[in-house]
């Protein structure tokens, strides 16, 4: 009976954990400088990243941006910014709170629900990621003739795929947070390493068919690959087909696969996080400061 009562966390604790962590995360991310500089900082980095690809393309294609591949490349790169924002957004606070602020042990004795605290801490980066994606796409549409016709966008497909993708990324971030809890070394680069690896295998900037055949299955096993494909299909429609990694699959089939991934990660991510957390407690890693 007592165990059941303990397992039922009051919703106000969930709400409070999430809200306070969101506020805290935003302050940490943004109050190191004034709002104007923070806005500039948030814009320059993603725009420069996109501009590298644009210049590379332009050098070879002699400035001809009106091709299906450029649209494929541009949207893939723009939306991929969400992957690292969401994944590292959720998992980074473990490193930040344990090594930098040294408050992780206090969080564990505080009346909060830790998973929701992690999610809240990640919101600031997710918001910054959203800002970066919007700016990148707006820059492409305004200056590079990236095709974006609002009337032709399949908004239903876009919305459903987008939400499913963000949810599955949050679950992946939770798994990474668990893994980060158990690591003493390299915990600060785990999120970036995973996001970088997925950048290659998910066909974000080139079709999967360019990868060697034995590596392609890694891409097919990643939800991000399906997510990016669905987002591209919903925005640029049939022109993506010549570069599609899933030419034979319909939108509904792709959506079903993404939904399957979301459910799978939803089922297991919390359990994996719990298992990692238990192990970290057993090994005394919760308040471990390595200065690594």
């Amino acid at each position: 009976m007592a165990e059941r009562q303990a397992a039922q966390v009051p919703s106000n604790i969930v709400r409070r954990s999430f809200a306070i962590a969101t506020w805290l995360g935003w302050k940490i991310e943004s109050n190191w400088t004034d709002p104007f500089l923070f806005a500039v900082y948030s814009v320059i980095k993603p725009l420069a990243g996109a501009a590298i690809i644009v210049v590379m393309y332009s050098v070879v294609a002699s400035g001809n941006f009106d091709t299906p591949y450029f649209a494929f490349l541009y949207f893939g790169n723009a939306f991929y910014q969400y992957v690292s924002s969401v994944i590292t957004g959720v998992s980074w606070s473990i490193v930040d709170d344990r090594e930098h602020y040294r408050t992780l042990k206090y969080l564990y004795v505080a009346p909060i629900r830790f998973q929701y605290y992690l999610l809240g801490r990640g919101v600031a980066r997710i918001l910054a990621g959203t800002f970066a994606v919007i700016i990148t796409i707006a820059g492409g549409v305004l200056f590079l003739h990236v095709p974006l016709n609002f009337a032709q966008v399949d908004w239903l497909l876009f919305s459903v795929s987008f939400v499913l993708g963000i949810v599955v990324l949050i679950y992946m971030g939770l798994v990474l947070a668990g893994v980060t809890l158990m690591l003493a070394h390299h915990s600060d680069v785990v999120g970036d390493a995973v996001a970088s690896a997925m950048f290659l295998f998910s066909g974000a900037i080139f079709p999967l068919s360019y990868l060697p055949a034995f590596i392609r299955p890694i891409g097919y096993a990643l939800p991000v690959t399906y997510w990016l494909e669905l987002l591209r299909r919903s925005i640029i429609g049939s022109s993506v087909e010549s570069f599609s990694s899933f030419g034979s699959l319909t939108n509904l089939e792709l959506l079903s696969i993404l939904l399957g991934f979301t459910l799978l990660f939803g089922l297991f991510s919390n359990a994996i996080f719990r298992a990692c957390e238990r192990r970290a407690k057993e090994k005394g890693l919760i308040d471990q400061i390595t200065n690594y």
């Binding site: 190191w32 320059i44 591949y69 602020y101 390493a193 690896a197 360019y210």
Partner: protein
């Protein structure tokens, strides 16, 4: 009471300066090799970008030399990352972890500490950069046609001296920063990769952007190395190799002198304002 061994050999002057350089370079050269997992990460991250960008070039049917441009640029990113995180931010980290006050309280000259950081960082990063070049060349069958090897070595050395001089200079500036240091270093990645032409010939950037970016020694160093290594390099150079070599030599002198002056100034300022041990998390 601690029973510490008696100091038998006291160094002063140049001998102390030299021992400081060796002492500070030691953990970077020897210590880092003991933690071999870092090599994986230091090679892995540049390689991810290299592979991604190579496939973009392949997808748009770029000439084969462009693949080599990306591999070389990717290897050079290791040096830039080392400058940002291992030089510029280093004194800031030392302040955060409490080592900086020990450095200053010790008889070791701070310029020697900075030089040691630079020498150690350069050697350790060179291993990683060679790893990226070897791996990239093997994966993508890059063909090199080295026209003048001595000049290539000279350009590389000039670039590195100027680059690490820049790192020594900026580490003094970062000393006075707090959380901004992390964000500034983070910001100086993609924008620098863009304006310095890490993944494409610099010639394709607007002239004044390239001219301004030339203040970062890797910009001209990379441009010269491409001209000397690849068959199509000379046709895609920003300036001639000779001019770029002279500019790099001038930058090296300016940055190292500026590093010394700035270090002295910042040290005085930081001590006067009591910010040497300040730790604003």
């Amino acid at each position: 009471m601690l029973n510490l061994p008696k100091v038998e050999k006291r160094s002063t002057g140049f001998a102390l300066f030299l021992r400081t350089i060796i002492g500070r370079a030691y953990p970077r050269v020897i210590g880092q090799q003991r933690e071999r997992s870092w090599i994986i990460f230091d090679v892995f991250f540049p390689m991810v970008a290299v592979i991604g960008y190579v496939y973009i070039y392949k997808a748009i049917g770029a000439p084969s030399d462009y693949v080599g441009f990306v591999v070389l640029g990717g290897a050079m990113t290791s040096f830039w990352m080392n400058i940002l995180w291992g030089m510029s931010s280093q004194l800031y980290w030392e302040k955060e972890t409490g080592n900086l006050s020990l450095y200053i309280a010790s008889p070791a000259p701070m310029m020697g500490v900075l030089l040691g950081m630079a020498v150690g960082g350069l050697v350790a990063t060179l291993i990683r950069a060679v790893g990226v070049i070897l791996l990239g060349s093997l994966l993508f069958h890059v063909t090199y046609s080295i026209m003048n090897f001595p000049t290539l070595v000279l350009i590389f050395m000039l670039s590195m001296v100027a680059l690490y001089g820049l790192g020594m200079m900026t580490s003094s500036i970062f000393l006075l920063l707090s959380r901004e240091a992390w964000h500034l270093a983070n910001l100086a990645q993609e924008p620098i990769f863009l304006v310095s032409g890490f993944y494409f010939p610099l010639k394709f950037m607007p002239f004044w952007v390239s001219a301004l970016a030339s203040l970062i020694p890797l910009t001209l160093g990379l441009d010269s190395m491409r001209q000397l290594i690849f068959a199509s390099g000379p046709t895609l150079g920003f300036l001639s190799v000779n001019i770029e070599a002279w500019i790099l030599a001038a930058l090296a002198v300016v940055f190292i002198v500026a590093a010394k002056l700035l270090l002295d100034y910042m040290e005085r300022l930081a001590i006067r304002e009591g910010r040497i041990t300040e730790n604003r998390r």
